[in-house]
């Protein structure tokens, strides 16, 4: 975007998975403008029927992720000048998910896979037990800590070509969550987690292409987590547990 350019050429996906069209808008350009600012301007000043999703606007809630010029991004923390030097923006809903309307992707399959990967906490103690001390430099804790900043934005899921080709694949976020719990000393679900990630949609489908790690806005490394799951399930295979 040059200093002289005063408007952005914005093309926006409209409609649902069953029928879609693209609308074009001329949006005033500003300094320090984010892609979410652009979408909000369209909704507020050009077309109030535009549907999209956001909440915190500061990169914590993970709800505003969209495809921006073909790349999955958290739109609230993506500056227009960094992704659209020529002032042209193509904004679409997240890839690999059904579309509810316009820019709002249906997140149900994404969170269903979290559950399928045993992403819920499996308590090892009750509220009546004393609080367990956690050593922050314990190697397992350090490994678990690598994944705890996930904000469930589904950018890795949208970036993953394996998900695109294999809809049953649990995907990077769910598998990283499983790996985090596997390394958490407070979680008691080891057997259930290893079983959950060893099925037909499990971690063994990952081709290690690395798009998840490349596009994660929080710079997490789901590919590393998936490699860890492959190692642990292989070890359990050699110990005679054929289904991990």
């Amino acid at each position: 975007m040059t200093a002289a350019q005063e408007t952005l050429d914005v093309t926006v996906h409209r409609g649902t998975t069953r029928g879609a069209r693209y609308d074009s808008f001329q949006v005033p350009a500003h300094a320090s403008q984010t892609v979410l600012d652009v979408v909000s301007w369209i909704q507020q000043f050009a077309d109030p029927t535009l549907s999209y999703r956001f909440a915190c606007r500061v990169g914590m809630c993970g709800s505003c992720a969209m495809m921006v010029n073909g790349t999955p991004r958290w739109t609230c923390r993506t500056h227009v000048k960094k992704v659209a030097a020529d002032g042209k923006l193509m904004i679409e809903p997240l890839r690999n998910l059904p579309v509810i309307k316009d820019l709002a992707a249906d997140m149900d399959p994404f969170f269903d896979k979290w559950t399928a990967a045993q992403g819920q906490h499996h308590p090892s103690q009750t509220r009546h037990d004393p609080i367990e001390p956690i050593d922050p430099v314990d190697p397992l804790r350090v490994e678990a800590d690598l994944g705890v900043e996930c904000i469930n934005c589904a950018i890795c899921y949208a970036a993953c070509d394996t998900v695109a080709g294999n809809p049953d694949y649990l995907g990077p976020a769910a598998l990283q969550r499983a790996w985090t719990l596997l390394n958490d000393s407070r979680d008691d679900g080891r057997g259930a987690i290893l079983d959950a990630v060893s099925g037909t949609g499990g971690c063994h489908n990952c081709h290690s292409m690395g798009s998840c790690t490349q596009y994660c806005p929080n710079e997490l490394n789901p590919m590393r987590a998936i490699a860890g799951l492959k190692r642990e399930t292989a070890k359990s295979f050699f110990k005679g547990k054929r289904n991990a």
Partner: protein
């Protein structure tokens, strides 16, 4: 479309193949150095339990490894799954086994 069992089968077959590929390349390079004729090669391989085991194992490993790899490609590119995918997987495995073992028998059985 790969569960733990198929994944391990593919990795273990790769583990078996790795030294066999190196051995196969070394034999090919060695065999053409002095201009060995077909008859001379067959003279060494026919009746040899060692070469039968070497290439027999190679064929088994390749058939398993390739069939599982093809399974993934077929599923991701063409969306096939269920019994059709299993049929294609193990059909490819059987086809490779038949072709490979035919060649192994031809050069090692007198």
């Amino acid at each position: 479309m790969l569960d733990l069992r198929l994944y391990m089968l593919q990795r273990l077959s790769a583990l078996v193949m790795a030294p066999l590929v190196l051995g196969h390349l070394a034999v090919m390079i060695y065999a053409i150095q002095g201009g060995l004729s077909t008859a001379e090669i067959l003279g060494r391989t026919q009746g040899s339990v060692l070469w039968f085991a070497f290439y027999g194992l190679f064929v088994f490993a390749v058939s398993l490894h390739a069939a599982i790899g093809l399974r993934v490609i077929i599923h991701e590119w063409f969306g096939l799954k269920g019994p059709v995918l299993s049929l294609l997987t193990w059909g490819a495995c059987a086809g490779l086994l038949v072709l490979g073992l035919r060649a192994v028998f031809a050069v090692t059985v007198p």
